[in-house]
């Protein structure tokens, strides 16, 4: 798989992700769970998207497949002209390594590494990464470089996770409930960090949330329910996260 973002097919110019008829079925023992039931959707360059939906609506499944963490049962996901659904394990690894910045709901920091080292874990294998210190400065954590996750608050931990995700200068930023485990005040700080990356670096960003109040900061809001997109709304103007309250 070609891993440089610039190589894109002409017909999909300006489109980062093209999702068509995407389905996903989990088999949990004897039970089959239909997580996605045919999703069609495009993500354009520079966009900030909020994926909204109740828990179990298939948001995380969609994001995981877009991020190359999971495979689809049917349909296609095309990333800048390349079909992710056809990619091999090795290609998916390279895709994750060089293209995607991922932010998890539960941060998934490595507890035995400091803030700086948690970022280094990613910059060490990336192609043209930022300095870990710079990435942490972007999320306002310059003062906490040598703290271990256990010495930091939830918001700080999540900001490390964001720094870690953006430090590789990813071609796309995928965030799964980044504020899910945080109070609203801390959540705002985290969202500001994401918004700033999107605005300053132009990184297309998808933020999953079940919190409708966050939707106002997005260019577009995609509503998912029961494994299907029920509505895509376009905001006339993005509201800065600082103005959001929940």
């Amino acid at each position: 798989m070609n891993t440089t973002a610039q190589h894109a097919g002409s017909e999909t110019a300006g489109i980062v992700f093209q999702v068509r008829g995407l389905t996903k079925v989990y088999e949990m023992g004897e039970v089959k769970v239909q997580a996605l039931r045919g999703v069609d959707w495009d993500l354009a360059e520079g966009e900030l998207i909020v994926l909204l939906g109740p828990s179990g609506s298939g948001k995380s499944t969609l994001l995981n497949i877009m991020g190359g963490l999971d495979t689809a049962s049917g349909g296609t996901v095309t990333y800048r002209g390349k079909e992710l659904t056809l990619a091999t394990e090795q290609e998916l690894t390279e895709y994750r390594r060089f293209q995607v910045g991922f932010v998890f709901q539960f941060y998934n920091l490595i507890p035995s590494l400091t803030a700086r080292e948690n970022v280094s874990v990613v910059t060490e294998i990336a192609k043209e990464p930022m300095e870990p210190e710079n990435a942490l400065a972007l999320v306002g954590l310059s003062e906490r470089l040598d703290h271990f996750p256990s010495q930091l608050s939830g918001g700080e931990q999540q900001r490390i996770a964001i720094a870690r995700a953006i430090s590789k200068n990813p071609a796309v930023l995928l965030c799964d409930e980044p504020t899910g485990a945080l109070d609203s005040q801390t959540g705002v700080v985290v969202l500001e960090a994401l918004e700033r990356v999107n605005r300053e670096l132009g990184t297309p960003t998808v933020i999953i949330t079940h919190n409708a109040d966050i939707a106002a900061m997005a260019d577009r809001v995609v509503h998912l329910s029961n494994g299907m997109i029920v509505n895509i709304a376009t905001n006339a103007a993005r509201r800065p996260p600082a103005e959001l309250r929940w």
């Binding site: 963490l69 495979t71 390594r97 995607v100 035995s112 874990v121 060490e124």
Partner: protein, 787 residues
Amino acid sequence: MKSLDKKLFRDLWHMKGQALAIVLVIMSGISTFIMFLSVMDSLMLTRGRFYGEHGFADVFANCKRAPESLKERIAAIPGVALVETRVAAEVKLDIPDFSEPVTGHLVSLPDDRPPLLNTLYLREGRLPEPWRDNEVVVSEAFAEAHRFHPGSSFGAVINGRWKTLTVSGIALSPEFVLAVRPGAISPDFKRYGILWMGRKALGRAYDMEGAFNDLSLTLSPGGDAGEVIRRLDRVLDRYGGFGAYSRKDQMSHRFLSEEFKQLQQFARIFPLIFIGVAAFLLNVVISRTVATQREQIAALKAFGYTTTDVAVHFVKLVLLVVALGTIAGILLGIRLSHGLGNIYMEFYRFPYFLYVLRPGVVGLAAGITGGAAVLGTIHSVWKAVRISPAQAMRPEEPAQYRKTVAERIIPAGILSQPTRIILRNLERRPVKAFLSIAGIAMACAIMVVGEFFGDTVNYMVDIQFRRVHREDMTVTFIDATSGKALHELQGMRGVEYAEPFRTVSVRLRSANRTYRTAIRGIAKESSLYRLLDEDFRVKAMPEAGIVLTDYFSKVLGVRPGENIIVEVLEGGRPVRTVPVAGFIREYLGLMGYMDLDALNRLMREGHAISGASITVDERLQPSIYRTLVEMPRVAGAVVRKDEIRNFYDTQAESMLFFTFVATILAGVIAFGVVYNSARISLAERGRELASLRVLGYTRGEISYILLGELGLLTLLAIPLGFLFGRWLSDYVAVAIESDLFRIPIVIESATYSLAASVVVVSAAVSGLIVRHRLDHLDLVEVLKTRE
């Protein structure tokens, strides 16, 4: 350093207790491996150097008396390089302040030149002045036992004449690295010594001027020992040759070679147990670590680390533990090697101990351990890192439990809820439970093997010295003597009863297999020396035919009723065909037994005896010995009780060393397995236990759930360990058996109880450590952490 590598070290630090337990197990394995192999290599190197520098001969022979001129003929045998002739004799010694019988083996040294072969390493003093008949060099072990130094003197009866000998020097010889009195089962430094005297003086004393009775030679490159021996025997035949033999049948060399064989076997068995246990422990610990790091693995993979990257990361963790254990094991191994080396040097008298630790041995140790550890862990690592990141991010499905067999058998109401938890937990992971049991059982088995030698030795001593030999003293004559000599003994004050015996040097032959040994002729209805059959019942000596040690069935491939050829190596040297009348069980050496009269008929010598077994009035024993020393035809006397005591004295230190090592090692294994199992259960089930505490269970009750399980495993492991121990002992016994000795499998109940105790105590100690953690379980914190 890469961030992932930093994580590695911090993870290791985080699990330091468990890692330490594994490091200790690996250390034990590596150190025993290093100890056994490096001591073997060192002894081999030392032996090689000593043999080379001191001209250890290749072929040896004894004869009655041969003219010195024969030396030329022998030197002319194709394949012979150097020939040295000597005079050698057994002498009775009278050591001041030591009232027990002492025998010396007196060997001549050339007067006019240094010896060509078997040269002495002089530790102290000087060689005897040429021609002096009252100066001797004595062997070091003997000198140490009696605190002799140059200038010390003692009495000796040389060819019937009393003489005072002065020690001119103390020496070591490649020929007598281990000096064991013929027929004895262990070296007796107090009662058997090697003495060297000038050839002329010794020759005069034994009427051997211009003659010799002892010969050694080296082979020229490419020389064929077998062919040289055949020709040498033909040359010496007329002069009463007792049959030449090569190095491999030379006593001192033989014992050393057997020792090497044992070391090699030990090096094979013990470390393998440890490495197996270490691999299992690593598997358990790493599996757990990988499981707890599920989400970290998911994150790493989400950021583009490959499955291989992540797997390598965990393999590095394994190798780091192995490396620590290996380094510690090498250091400890070198230390233990010196301990074991010192014990060997007490027995095997080398002038120096060249310690060598071959890089190959270290490499092999590290390689086997590293390989086993990686093999033992790779499966669980791979299983964990292979899953897709999305799946890894979801919490693991709850473990599946079901009702156990025990619960179905035992009526409800009898088993408490905690006991049910224990049983279900064991049944849920039967393989892990079994491996834990096997690991603990190995600890028990190591103890059994370590201790079983002691039991066996006790048993062998009991059979040999209490049931076969029943005399107080054995008296041997210089040559086969008329039966009248027996009456002389019987007439001595204090001698209660005397029974004659005859020993004859022979070569037994069956088809193309031969074996040099002796036939002992035993009086009819002998009561002081009894033959025991395979079931240790007293066996009557058949009137005709020869009774053989049972191991002869292997060595010569003969069965009762078949004939063997007896080539007598002394007297008229008759060659006879004799039927095998039966086998007896013996653990030491290989011998033939015949009725005394039948043996004498075979020899056509009339009524001759070589010595007598006697019982004495204990109070008169010292005076009896004094009389025996003065009797010219008496070559020596051995007191049975002294022999038993000496045997235990010489073995005591090495027995203690092995017990000590085995106990430590077994303790380490038991501790390692139990501690690791406990810590892992604690990690896996901390939440569950904390929840129970919240629900009102006491510390004792939750400890029971965790530690009760381990207690149950330990109890199940002990009988299995006995079984493993028994098998291992069997294996060791068969692996090291030889014509020198066979090892009966005798394991006393004391050994079993000691083994069980060591295991139980080690398990209890690790249990207490974990109990301490259980007592400090932070209820709130544990409930908050997300699994």
